[in-house]
């Protein structure tokens, strides 16, 4: 990966200096090997902290809603897709933000690498273009980055920022278009198989809500799952309660989920949250010919009405 950190720092410095941004939201070095962490830079002197590498997986647009003042944000493809939807949903004002777009090559999943290290402590990580050399006391492995990408990144078809004020580096050709073959394959299974898969995934969930809280589009002031008066969803981790949470969340994100994968990355117990969201995306594509997060002028399908909207879902009574 070309080193874009220095260009990012320069840009951030310029924005702060000229007063075009009060804060820059970006990444700094994490406290663990194979890890970068979100940071908020307010002083020119601190821009040196900013970094860019294949561990910048968090979706920073999550922080835009609570940010105050003019905000500069480092944004890869998926972050910009989320920003597009947030602007459409009037949660973020375009004039209040400066988007520093960074083309992405897919983000590397720290946990997949940790699995390969089999519990051995990592003492050093060396970046060798496509590979990472990882060493430790009992450890010496070379990992190909593109073999350890997050599931969503592997198939992402919009890695380049879709909207930006400044572009860092240069865009590269996108991967093929999304044919939703994963969804078609899953749809092809029997309902028993699908039920078993989904309920198994749900059984792992500990209701920590990291998925929801990491999601840039889950910004409701009070989530249906937290409400106590009335209480819509039971609080236990029994199947009914947990499944209800996930299905309702997924439906509430239909036509809004930008498939950034932030939810799945945040999950500590490997729940395949993507399964439900991908189905929603496929349905939205089929029913409304809409792909989320690409076009700021195209109205969101579920918050507009057109006389010729598909009505396949209406029940004949």
């Amino acid at each position: 990966m070309a080193d874009l950190s220095s260009s990012i720092r320069e840009e951030a410095k310029k924005l702060l200096k000229k007063g075009e941004a009060d804060v820059i939201i970006g990444f700094e070095k994490g406290s663990l090997p194979l890890c970068a962490t979100p940071c908020f830079i307010r002083n020119e002197a601190d821009v040196e902290k900013l970094i860019w590498n294949e561990f910048c997986g968090n979706n920073l647009s999550r922080y835009l809603i609570k940010a105050k003042g003019k905000v500069g944000i480092i944004a890869k493809g998926c972050d910009t897709r989320a920003i597009v939807e947030l602007i459409k949903e009037k949660q973020v004002q375009r004039e209040q933000i400066v988007i520093i777009g960074v083309p992405c090559e897919g983000m590397v999943d720290r946990k997949q690498i940790m699995m390969r290290c089999q519990g051995n402590k990592i003492t050093n990580v060396e970046d060798r273009d496509e590979r990472l050399l990882i060493t430790g006391d009992l450890l010496n492995v070379a990992v190909k980055k593109d073999e350890c990408l997050y599931p969503g990144c592997q198939v992402c078809t919009n890695r380049n920022p879709v909207m930006y004020d400044v572009l860092i580096g240069s865009t590269s050709e996108e991967q093929q278009t999304d044919e939703f073959t994963d969804v078609t394959n899953f749809d092809g299974k029997s309902s028993e198989e699908r039920w078993e898969y989904i309920t198994h995934e749900i059984s792992k969930c500990i209701r920590c809500y990291a998925c929801r809280n990491a999601c840039p589009l889950c910004y409701c002031k009070e989530c249906f799952v937290d409400t106590t008066q009335p209480q819509w969803v039971g609080k236990t981790t029994g199947q009914t309660d947990t499944l209800l949470f996930h299905i309702m969340r997924s439906i509430h994100l239909a036509g809004r989920c930008v498939e950034c994968g932030a939810c799945e990355r945040a999950c500590p117990v490997t729940v395949d949250i993507r399964k439900l969201n991908r189905k929603m995306s496929a349905d939205v594509k089929k029913l409304f010919d809409y792909k989320t997060g690409l076009d700021i002028d195209q109205p969101a399908p579920l918050s507009t009405f057109k006389p010729d909207d598909s009505e396949e879902f209406m029940l004949d009574i």
Partner: protein, 345 residues
């Protein structure tokens, strides 16, 4: 202290024997992560692991449990208490930090002052066979919080890996009884020397202690400090740190009722959730990330010392390795500590 040995190759037989008489939970790999689960045979038990993603606290405080159930009709009300008899239970292969967490939980739920019958019912049957750490991770800081990679606090028996064998340290009477029943061999002198060597080597590998002298006093004076805001800015206010933590123990109680039949259920809750402190009036004394994260730190490193004379953290590192935004509790403590030293707050 008594020391016994067992060959590594005999561990499967050892476990399979125990399974006949006890319920056993051990570390296994499930859905790509290591978890503690009840096992029916020694198959799949892994002892070469760093630590489980979820802590074993669930065996004494399940994520949700029915306390009572009831039904009412015109003139009678029947209430049933759910205190089922528990089978003798062995937690096998837990790390020393997690074993210590049970001591902490005992102080919260089952000491002279506090006595939670549901907790006690589950806890009384637990015997802990822990496994010392020869490979401490970069997230481990047990020595800072009073433990260590071979700390025996909370364990009944402690295994030390010396290559082809384990030394079994006999810590409690309960542990001694089990060992006696199993008729294990006494450890030899050379094996004990090897054990000491292993322990020293591992202790040298663990990251140095955080320097946090009188942290409590400093925290108590920093409640209104400005650092809390910046330190917690990236926090998502999720439940990862609290739910995976072996010592976090807050809960909620809800009644679920339908057609005059109902259950009173106790469920894990988290100080990181906005509704945790929401009052009936609609007022929330901990409205933002800042107050909620501060509560987590203050509770563990100040209030727990007041209430239980023990820090509410065993340094297992779960909240560090699993936090989705890498908000590292060690960095938070260190920066609070130093900014307080320099009088910035």
């Amino acid at each position: 202290m008594d020391y016994k040995t067992i060959k590594k190759s005999e561990i499967t037989e050892f476990l399979d024997n125990l399974i006949k008489e006890y319920e056993i939970a051990a570390p296994i790999e499930k859905d790509d992560i290591v978890v503690f689960d009840k096992i029916k045979s020694s198959n799949g038990v892994i002892l070469e692991y760093s630590n489980s993603v979820k802590s074993p606290k669930k065996f004494v405080i399940p994520q949700f449990e029915t306390l009572i159930s009831y039904n009412t009709n015109e003139d009678t009300t029947n209430v049933k208490e759910h205190l089922d008899e528990q089978k003798q239970f062995i937690l096998f292969g837990a790390r020393p930090c997690d074993a210590r967490s049970f001591l902490f939980l005992d102080k919260v739920f089952s000491d002279e002052k506090n006595r939670d019958i549901y907790y006690k019912n589950r806890r009384d049957v637990v015997l802990i066979i822990s496994l010392g750490c020869t490979q401490p991770q970069e997230t481990c800081f047990c020595t800072t919080t009073g433990g260590g990679p071979f700390s025996s606090e909370g364990s009944d028996l402690l295994l030390v890996d010396i290559g082809d064998d384990y030394i079994i340290q006999v810590i409690t009477d309960k542990g001694a009884e089990l060992v006696k029943k199993l008729g294990l061999k006494n450890a030899q002198k050379d094996e004990l020397a090897e054990m000491d060597r292993v322990i020293k080597k591992s202790e040298a590998k663990i990251e140095p202690d955080l320097e946090l002298n009188n942290l409590k006093d400093k925290l108590d004076n920093s409640f209104d400090g400005s650092d809390w805001e910046t330190l917690t800015e990236k926090c998502l206010s999720c439940g990862v740190c609290t739910y995976l933590c072996p010592t976090c123990h807050c809960f909620d109680i809800v009644d679920e009722e339908k057609n005059r039949k109902g259950e009173r259920i106790r469920i894990w809750d988290s100080c990181q959730f906005p509704h945790f402190t929401m009052q009936a009036s609609g007022f929330n004394p901990r409205p933002t990330y800042k107050e909620r994260y501060r509560q987590r730190i203050m509770h563990k490193f100040s209030y727990c010392i007041d209430n239980y004379n023990m820090v509410g953290c065993v340094g297992c590192g779960r909240c560090i390795s699993e936090c989705p935004v890498n908000l590292d509790i060690r960095q938070v403590l260190t920066s609070l500590y130093y900014s307080m030293l320099s009088g910035r707050t």
